[in-house]
Symmetry: C2
């Protein structure tokens, strides 16, 4: 299949991606909710379903389950790992909201806004703990050797995520204004691609092949897919519709996040403009004003930085598709294989 | 040996406890620091040694190593686990400081006060991640079966710690003013005893006996020892000397913590006094005044609540010693066995 035909198939209105996403999301959520500890003490386990139950894409668990099935594995064998992946993801979200001081998540208040930082940090930790429990359950289902392997993969994923988060926090703290697009992509690989795409695909593939899969094979697919996903997320953050996006619009600007478009703006703007942006970024969140946010939004549009990011997302998606086709070249056609390839277009066309 | 003679031996000025504590602390700290990831990115791994390097007791790692040696195990086999225990402990401290909004820890600023909540949450998570890495390293040194077992013990410890933390946070959030001493002891078992004493002793014993140790055997010793330790900590918090204690004096009152003495005061005070204390506890940290703190400190002393707590710590220590002597009854005498038993008196006589 030529790249053009594949891309065209991927863009079809078949609805395969939304359908399988919804199906895998339901399966994972049910497994997640079916096995939570008793409700006591208050403000702990009862808060764990909050984020998972709100409208979310369920992308990460779906990538794990679809990769497992596309490579000939049974879904049930990957289910504990898919639940662990969703729990890790939600733990990151809860802590991320604490770290960024965010107010809204998936259309509702963040846990920290509603219950305070203390309880939110604790609930995030409990999610990580339950994820570890699911990975330990793999020992029964998959045998000790494969279970250890997946535990090691999980540790590597956590390491990348924490390092990516550290990079982003450091840029804000140090008011870094001389970053390059390469800096952004390095951060994005660690902060987004690894845990959103590379890790779920690796785990699904390892389970399908009983550990025989050469894990690096899907990495490039996952890396470009994750980068395209993150840039689309940054675009939605600035220009999305709150009703579907579910977070504060322009929250990234309030937080001073170093997105691809902001880095592009800082690199291409005239010195006086750059200096004004730098002063804005040097303020704390509370010092920033509505007016400044509107000014910066206009600037990002006029300077071509939004277009630059849109183009980058499209180009990354194209490379992701090509990499996916190479990586899955000798894998028999199936709904799950199509799902993985069509995911590429989905992540840059989604509106939430 | 009679209980009286044991207690007298335990109180001896032999200096065994400080000496072995310092020795085990050095060994563990060196192993911890010798294997940290590279320094980049900024604000992550470079901050991990911060708390471990500040003056601390190293109690938890020492309990693990001493239990292992007292039961005939080699120290080297328990070293990765001891490092994991210290890393878990420091992760709790870093997150606890975020959760409580604390300013000082071990004589220096808290990570959150110095670097912000975002970076502190991340560093705490990185400590937990590195602890997991040490537990995975157990697979090489101890074999997969014992390594899984210790992982399961670690998960149970984390569960108790998070549940204990949730209890304490919930009491503050809901302004619980009708707690009983039993409520306190339940919280204390989960929040303190499990990860401070029960878990380190269990792990040390499992390693010494290659998993054959009946883990429950040291639990009662650990439980009473941990409770005595926590009450002494609460007493030092109110009345300690900052130079040796290293935290804000009366920080617990600023934070509204439900300590044993506060619960005793609420239970025994006259209704008008109770009502005033309740109103004080209903305020946020920022609304409380220096004057109120001094008033409450005086009240705790006059009402006999401090004496009540001191008596409770002594009684718990006595029971801990008795339980330790039963649990270790058939264990040959050794320096490490003496260390474990003398620890009982140390925890209630320490000034930091």
């Amino acid at each position: 299949m030529s790249r053009r035909r594949a891309a065209s198939a991927a863009s079809g209105a078949s609805g395969l991606v939304p359908r399988l996403l919804a199906s895998y999301r339901d399966i994972t959520l049910e497994a997640l909710l079916s096995n939570l500890p008793a409700r006591r003490p208050a403000y702990l386990y009862e808060l764990i379903p909050e984020y998972p139950r709100r409208p979310g894409k369920g992308l990460r668990a779906a990538l794990c389950l679809a990769t497992c099935r596309a490579l000939g594995g049974r879904l049930e064998r990957a289910l504990d790992s898919a639940v662990a992946i969703e729990l890790f993801h939600n733990a990151f979200l809860v802590h991320d909201d604490v770290q960024d001081g965010s107010e809204r998540r998936r259309g509702g208040p963040t846990l920290s806004a509603e219950h305070g930082v203390g309880i939110a940090v604790n609930v995030g930790n409990a999610m990580t703990l339950l994820a570890l429990g699911r990975l330990r359950a793999n020992r029964e289902r998959l045998g000790p050797s494969l279970a250890w392997r997946i535990l090691a993969e999980s540790e590597e994923m956590m390491r990348h995520s924490l390092e990516g988060q550290a990079l982003e926090l450091a840029w804000i703290r140090d008011n870094a204004c001389d970053l390059t697009e390469d800096d952004y992509f390095r951060m994005c690989l660690k902060k987004t691609s690894w845990y959103t795409c590379i890790y779920p695909c690796r785990v699904g593939a390892l389970i399908a092949t009983d550990g025989r899969f050469e894990v690096g094979r899907l990495d490039r697919f996952g890396w470009y897919l994750g980068a395209a996903f993150q840039i689309q997320d940054d675009l939605l953050n600035l220009a999305g519709d709150y009703a579907s996006y579910g977070k504060e619009i322009a929250g990234d600007l309030w937080e001073g996040k170093r997105t691809l478009m902001l880095i592009h703006l800082l690199r291409t703007a005239s010195e006086p403009v750059r200096e004004r942006v730098r002063r804005f970024l040097g303020k704390s969140r509370g010092e920033r004003t509505e007016q400044e946010i509107r000014w910066l939004l206009g600037l990002l549009a006029e300077s071509g930085s939004l277009d630059f990011a849109r183009r980058a997302a499209r180009e990354l998606a194209e490379v992701a598709l090509a990499e996916g086709m190479v990586a899955l070249g000798d894998v028999p056609d199936s709904e799950d294989k199509s799902f993985l390839l069509q995911m590429v277009r989905y992540v840059i066309e989604r509106d939430r």
